[in-house]
Amino acid sequence: MSDPILSVKDLRVEFATRSGPLRAIDGVSFDLNKGEVLGFVGESGAGKSLTGTAVIGLIDPPGKITGGEIRLEGRRIDHLSIEELRRIRGREIGMIFQDPLTSLDPLMRIGDQLIETIITHVAVSRTEARARAVKLLEDVGIPAAAERVMSYPHEFSGGMRQRVVIALALAAEPKVIIADEPTTALDVSVQAQIIALLKKLTSERGMAVMLITHDMGVIAQIANRVAVMYSGRIVEIGPVADVVRQPAHPYSMGLMGSIPSLHAEHARLKQIPGSMPRLTALPAGCAFSPRCERADARCKVERPALAATGMTTSACFHPVTSTVAEVAG
């Protein structure tokens, strides 16, 4: 395997609050390879978005990266000046947000937003930028792109707008795309189309994608690998098929079990008791231990590190590997 395009080591993000710093991301590490789609799943508040925003350097105060390092093609980017970071954004790393309705400036024509982005990063003339804009819109599957560049965002439907958002993120051909819940706001049928589009674009352009979502189905369809996050940490990371079929971490397992399936009806869903702890009241040791059937005294005091457990890498003292393996066997 070649060097990863994006490498995050031991990332830590904290929020300064009046009762001391609040650690929202705690020791997250992962590598993202060229052309790879790495999915991030987890419950709301697990720190998925924050990880993405940290990578692109857009954490709003009072949030701050307080530890670890982020490398883009080997170059550290977590210490860059604002201006240097700005040049990376859009050019090297692009980002897509969840809500296509609000991601576009309602007062500016689609074309102008595209042209503006292109000109910011690439030394081309306006006419050229315009031609590129039309091309981009065509690439993301907007029919009659040449005419529609003059439209305003509200003149598009939700699915179309998300395509525009994607076009904007791709405008300067970044190497890494962070897609934060790119399909959550969309209907299933549109979601399917957007997934197909993303898939096509990544394979055609060889971009690496950090795909953040809470929909395991989406991950399953498009991602190569998946990271499961819980309370600001990655609890399990590995190839999609393995995490889905043979999760090692009890949390991942619970998560998979609670997803209703198209194929089984009326079966009682597996459920994880309780809810994710608030950041202000994180238990010592493994954050999942209060909800975990397998937890023992050690889990309550000591924090497990990520380690290879069967097919995947997980952070658990009592991974589920053996049992599943037995079942699988």
């Binding site: 700005r86 990376i88 859009g90 400036d105 503006e116 982005t117 305003y152 904007l168």
Partner: protein, 325 residues
């Protein structure tokens, strides 16, 4: 679009009629015009005759209809006090007030928006805190006190600026006396305009600031940053423009209130505008002037609203659509 404008005009007309009725009824009962007009030794018979002549004995409805009908022809009658047609008086006074209000709003907007943008962007800088605290003083001191203090400081103590009046004015085709073309006129504008505009400046600044802060948190700004747009593009091409929609409404309303607030400023600075005329006529129960003033300020307000609506449409494509649909 046309339909929208027509509807707006229709609504405006409705508002105007209500204002006219209100103006008429209110003023019909304030003061006693007759006793203002006759000499102190006039007999009761003379008074009655005058009352009849003024139409004050007709049924109220008739008086009111008459009043509205005449107002439509710019006939507001003749001032009891100045013995001149009210139209002429307003014609003389309006330029002064409009120039004052215009300069005051330029001052308020021209300084308020940049300050608002600055403080909105630099939320917690020291300068922001200073500006924010200072701006509160602008809304906490009564206008008349500010005016008096400014006169005391800049006119009496420092001798920099004149203390009252419009200074030198020049005529514009005999229609419009302007103080904007002479240095004396401009100097005379400074203190009243600052006094009048200070309150609005604060409002505009604070509004721009809070809108700016809100817009800066929106997804499209975040997305703009994520695309690596320059700060300039983010702040001005995107944020400020989006801020303007609500700001324009407020500015429209505030300019309307400037006209009314000029009553105080004009009193303090003896500025020969409509506000001064109004307060003079209030004390004299000069009904024609008061009624006309009210109608005029309503017209100005309604016009401003219309302009705001049109600006709205120019700025915000979504409204254009909503209007078309």
């Amino acid at each position: 679009m046309l339909a929208f404008l027509i509807r707006r005009l229709f609504e405006a007309a409705l508002v105007m009629i209500v204002v006219a009725i209100v103006a008429f009824t209110l003023f019909r009962f304030v003061g006693d015009p007759v006793s203002q007009m006759v000499s102190q030794d006039a007999t009761i018979a003379q008074r009655e005759a005058l009352k009849a002549e003024l139409g004050l004995n007709d049924p109220l409805i008739v008086q009111c209809a008459h009043f509205i009908w005449k107002s439509l022809h710019f006939d507001f009658g003749i001032s009891y006090k100045f013995r001149e047609p009210v139209v002429n008086l307003l014609g003389q006074r309006m330029p002064a007030t409009l120039e004052l209000a215009a300069i005051a709003s330029l001052f308020a907007i021209g300084i308020g928006i940049p300050l608002g943008v600055y403080t909105g962007i630099n939320r917690d800088s020291l300068l922001t805190r200073v500006i924010m605290a200072g701006s509160l003083i602008g809304v906490s001191l009564p206008t008349f006190l500010i005016g008096i203090l400014l006169i005391y400081l800049f006119a009496v103590t420092l001798h920099w600026l004149p203390s009252y009046g419009r200074g030198e004015t020049t005529s514009f085709f005999g229609l419009w006396q302007t103080g904007l073309l002479t240095s004396g006129g401009l100097r005379a504008l400074v203190l009243p305009a600052v006094t009048l505009g200070l309150f609005q400046l604060t409002l505009v600044m604070r509004l721009v600031r809070s809108e700016m802060m809100e817009v800066l948190r929106t997804d499209y700004i975040r997305f703009g940053r994520a695309r690596g747009l320059t700060n300039r593009a983010i702040y001005f091409a995107h944020a400020l423009k989006n801020t303007l929609v609500p700001v324009i409404t407020v500015i429209g309303v505030e300019i309307g209130t400037l006209i009314a607030f000029s009553i105080i400023t004009e009193t303090v600075f003896q500025w020969p505008g409509m506000g001064l005329l109004f307060i003079q006529s209030v004390q004299f129960a000069d009904i024609p002037i008061m009624a006309a003033y009210l109608l005029l300020s309503a017209v100005i307000f309604v016009t401003l609203n219309l302009v705001v609506d049109i600006l709205y449409m120019l700025i915000d494509p979504r409204i254009r659509v909503a209007v078309r649909a």
